[in-house]
């Protein structure tokens, strides 16, 4: 593949960052600045989504309604999920992709820099629309993030706001995904072959395909909601020949790939961190790539495991149960390869590694409960209970969020040029890890004991575990304040970071100085640099 033989960045002021808010941030086409914008945005959204979660936990602290009207409670649940998924996790991954992919493949920038700016700047407007629903007549959306009709069609003025917000988020994700694909397929330095790419790049490539295939389907689904509500179509109305369950099929055809969109880049991150702190390259690199691809493929044929109770024909139930169980195999391959990377390694426990290790254990716990949910007859008992809530917070919070934390702690010195406060970072880790388990582990018990999800109030026998869970929640929430503080500190000073940062880090990004130059690889790295920077698989 012919690439930039002579390097890149065809303009005069190479390392000169533009000045002023407008020039630096609003009109920027620089992958690092856009990456920073994404990450800051994501952090803000994490705190907003987290405050909604705190309100949920506050109301559920004990039985009886103390603070929130049931409709407002449902709005909190709905907005919490939408903000966390589309505002916190996905933009965080895109931000990391922006920062790291060009550096890791030896490119000067993303392939389509103007579009890159566009895909970020759509987001604040999308979330303005979404969050404004909290203030409109009739209240915010309260039908759950899954937006099932006919219930969601009872939403007031918030409905079109939510739907158009989702359209915008979808557009942003699609543009971002196109950019990632084009960058990876077209901007690799000569010699950076596909099977030399770091796993973070690989997982993001596959994630981008998932995004392009899944997000338009969500757009279609919510468009149908819009026309059902405002223009009298009958997609989800049995009287007109439609079916409310049809929405669920379309939604989950998006929704299941979506949950892997939120975990594959996390897999990539963990696959970067564990080798570094095990002192040796990733075990079974090829298998890891194939496993990721298999997970992505399977993710499109398992969607109805969210719908075991809707009354599908037996054959469909069987099919979706079995296909879902299959996902455990490639995921297992990944877990085993990570574990074996440590085997006969030289394992050290810097903050990024702590998050990655916690990920390994707790994501697996979430995976196990996922596997239990996949067993259709047993899912009749689990479905729509806190057991499901526990499952997906283990994969999302201790999975995706923990990996993102790990990524930030891993690459922060590269971004800022400073080391951060290690002991504060460890405090953040340990507090988070302890509290997150106090927060979510008891929810398994609640679910099994019969507590439904999406309820503002509950029978008194669920009191004790709910209290435990809420206390864990508050603890986890408060611990998160350490995170922006630590980043702020690191951005404004601290010991100078070397270009390698970690003794044993492998990868092209570590061949660049810290902080990385404004345009990453103005000259494409030479073959020798690549061989040096890439682990020999």
């Amino acid at each position: 593949m012919a690439t930039t033989e002579h390097g890149a960045a065809a303009h005069d002021d190479h390392d000169h960052k533009p000045h002023g808010f407008w020039n630096r941030w609003l009109t920027t086409t620089n992958h690092k600045d856009i990456g920073t914008l994404y990450l800051v945005f994501s952090c803000i959204m994490f705190f907003i989504g987290g405050s909604f979660a705190m309100l949920i936990r506050l109301e559920l602290f004990k039985p009886g309604l103390q603070f929130l009207d049931p409709a407002l409670f449902n709005t909190m649940t709905t907005m919490h999920a939408l903000v966390m998924i589309f505002g916190a996790i996905m933009p965080a991954f895109v931000g990391l992709a922006n920062w790291m992919i060009p550096m890791q493949i030896g490119a000067p920038d993303m392939a389509l820099p103007r579009m890159n700016n566009f895909s970020f700047w759509i987001l604040p407007f999308a979330f303005t629309l979404l969050l404004s629903t909290l203030f409109v007549p009739g209240g915010g959306p309260a039908g759950g993030w899954t937006m099932y009709p006919p219930l969601v069609l009872q939403t007031g003025s918030a409905l079109p706001l939510m739907i158009f917000a989702i359209h915008l988020m979808g557009a942003s994700s699609i543009l971002g995904a196109i950019n990632v694909i084009v960058t990876i397929m077209n901007m690799r330095a000569p010699g950076m072959t596909l099977l030399r790419m770091p796993l973070f790049v690989w997982t993001w490539l596959i994630t981008a395909y998932l995004l392009i295939a899944a997000m338009p389907v969500l757009a279609g689904a919510v468009t149908m909601l819009l026309t059902d509500h405002f223009f009298g179509t009958s997609f989800f109305n049995a009287a007109g020949g439609g079916d409310p369950v049809m929405f669920q099929h379309i939604f989950w055809f998006f929704g299941h790939p979506e949950v892997y969109i939120m975990i594959l880049p996390a897999f990539g991150i963990v696959s970067e961190i564990i080798p570094t702190f095990s002192g040796k390259p990733l075990f079974g690199y090829d298998a890891m790539v194939y496993a990721t691809a298999s997970i992505a493929f399977l993710s499109f044929i398992v969607w109805a495991h969210h719908m075991f109770t809707v009354g599908m024909p037996l054959s469909s139930e069987l099919f979706f149960m079995l296909s879902t169980m299959l996902i455990a195999i490639p995921t297992g391959v990944k877990v085993f390869n990570w574990a074996t990377t440590m085997w006969r390694g030289s394992v050290s426990f810097e903050p990024p590694m702590l998050w990655a290790l916690a990920f390994l254990f707790m994501f697996s716990i979430g995976g196990f409960s996922g596997l239990m949910l996949a067993i259709a007859p047993a899912d009749f008992q689990y479905q729509d209970t806190y057991f499901v809530v526990a499952h997906f917070h283990y994969v999302l919070v201790t999975g995706a969020i923990f990996a993102i934390m790990g990524a930030v702690y891993y690459w922060l010195p590269k971004w800022t040029g400073h080391m951060y406060n290690m002991s504060l970072a460890k405090w953040h880790f340990w507090l988070s890890t302890i509290f997150v388990n106090v927060l979510f582990f008891p929810q398994h018990f609640l679910g099994l004991a019969g507590m439904p999800r999406r309820v503002p109030d509950y029978a008194v026998q669920f009191t004790d575990w709910n209290m435990v869970s809420s206390i864990g929640g508050f603890g986890f929430g408060l611990s998160q304040f350490l995170f922006p503080y630590l980043i702020w500190q690191c951005a404004h000073g601290g010991a100078k970071a070397t270009s390698k940062v970690w003794d044993t880090s492998i990868g092209l990004e570590w061949e660049l100085p810290s902080p990385a130059p404004y345009h990453s690889w103005v000259e494409a790295p030479s073959m020798a640099t690549i061989e040096h920077g890439v682990a020999s698989h």
Binding site: P63, G64, L65, Q66, D69, A142, G143, G144, Y148, P149, P150, L151, Q154, D228, H229, F230, A238, A239, D243, S278, G279, K280, D286, A287, T309, V310, G311, G332, V333, A339, M342, W343, G345, S346, S348, L357, S364, S369, L371, M372, I375, A376, A378, F380, D384, F445, L448, A449, G450, P452, V455, D457, Y458, A459, V460, Q461, T463, D464, V468, T504
Partner: protein
């Protein structure tokens, strides 16, 4: 009466939270429940053992996998002077093994799961059919071919206590949020079929003791069946399990399981009552009335 679940006594985890416990007012109905109910029918016990089978497999796998990880972390830690083996990077044999072993494990899970699944979908030879209709926010029941119907809403004292800032301590309300004015009465030892649908939005009819959860979908009928052990008479409770609007949390299901004889007597009495001329208005809202509304499908057209 509470949901019938075994109270697995507190373990280490509960101890962790013991301090928290002291903050809580001692609740009348015991807490710290850890596990699912085995239920009151052969089917629910099948599902329970499926759940336990899965659980123990997961525990087993976790012990092996986590054990391996912990061992590697501890044994190969840098602080102990471990030196990384730069040549231990891949092995096709290992990859094949850890692909095949999970396949076998999954098969051993899938076989019983599929068997139970097939059973749950087999509502032949039922003796009694009950039509269940979800409304925002109550349940309607109709004993097919008898004209007997029941409308079941949250009991009045729960309803009063659950209002925002009511000041009533939920612990003082018997079966808070789990009791209704008119429970569904069913016979034990009889194979009963429930035909589940809804009038407005999707609900889900869930009784943990029966291990039945089926969505109630407007415009469609879903079927489920149960056959309660003859000796398991008593009261069992469940809840709506699909978000259905603001009062989703407040439309419980209460099942009164009677012996076959008692049930027949009860049904007969209800039918006789139907034959009486004009029920007084105050009673129409209560138990036994034939509602024509329950038999004609709603032509739900979305608002707007």
């Amino acid at each position: 009466m509470t949901i019938k679940t075994p109270r697995v006594s507190t373990t280490a985890l509960a101890a962790l939270a013991a301090g928290v416990m002291s903050l809580a007012a001692p609740s009348a109905q015991a807490a710290w429940t850890l596990n699912m109910t085995p239920g009151i029918s052969a089917m629910s016990r099948e599902i329970y053992s499926l759940h336990m089978l899965m659980f123990w497999w997961c525990v087993g796998i976790a012990i092996v996998v986590f054990g391996f990880m912990i061992f590697s972390m501890v044994h190969f830690r840098k602080s102990k002077g471990a030196v990384a083996d730069q040549h231990f990077l891949h092995s096709n044999r290992i990859e094949i093994i850890w692909t095949l072993v999970p396949v076998l494990i999954l098969i051993s899970m899938a076989v019983p799961a599929a068997r139970v699944l097939v059973q749950t979908e087999d509502p032949v030879a039922t003796e009694l059919s009950i039509r269940v209709t979800g409304y925002q926010w109550k349940w309607g029941y109709e004993y097919l071919d008898t004209g007997v119907t029941i409308l079941s809403t949250l009991s009045r004292d729960s309803n009063r206590a659950r209002q925002l800032g009511s000041g009533i301590d939920p612990n003082s309300v018997p079966n808070y949020l789990l009791s209704v004015d008119h429970p569904l009465v069913v016979p034990a030892g009889v194979k009963v079929r429930v035909l589940i649908t809804a009038q407005d939005v999707i609900h889900s009819w869930w009784v943990p003791a029966l291990a039945i959860k089926k969505d109630a979908i407007p415009g469609f009928i879903n079927e489920a069946w149960f056959d309660i052990d003859a000796d398991k008479t008593g009261t069992y409770r469940g809840q709506c399990a699909e978000l259905c609007g603001r009062d989703h949390g407040f439309m419980p299901i209460v099942l009164e399981v009677k012996s076959k004889q008692d049930f027949d007597l009860w049904l007969k009495k209800q039918q006789d009552a139907l034959k009486q001329p004009a029920v007084t208005p105050s009673e129409t809202t209560t138990t036994t009335t034939t509602t024509s509304q329950a038999t004609t499908p709603a032509t739900h057209v979305s608002a707007g």
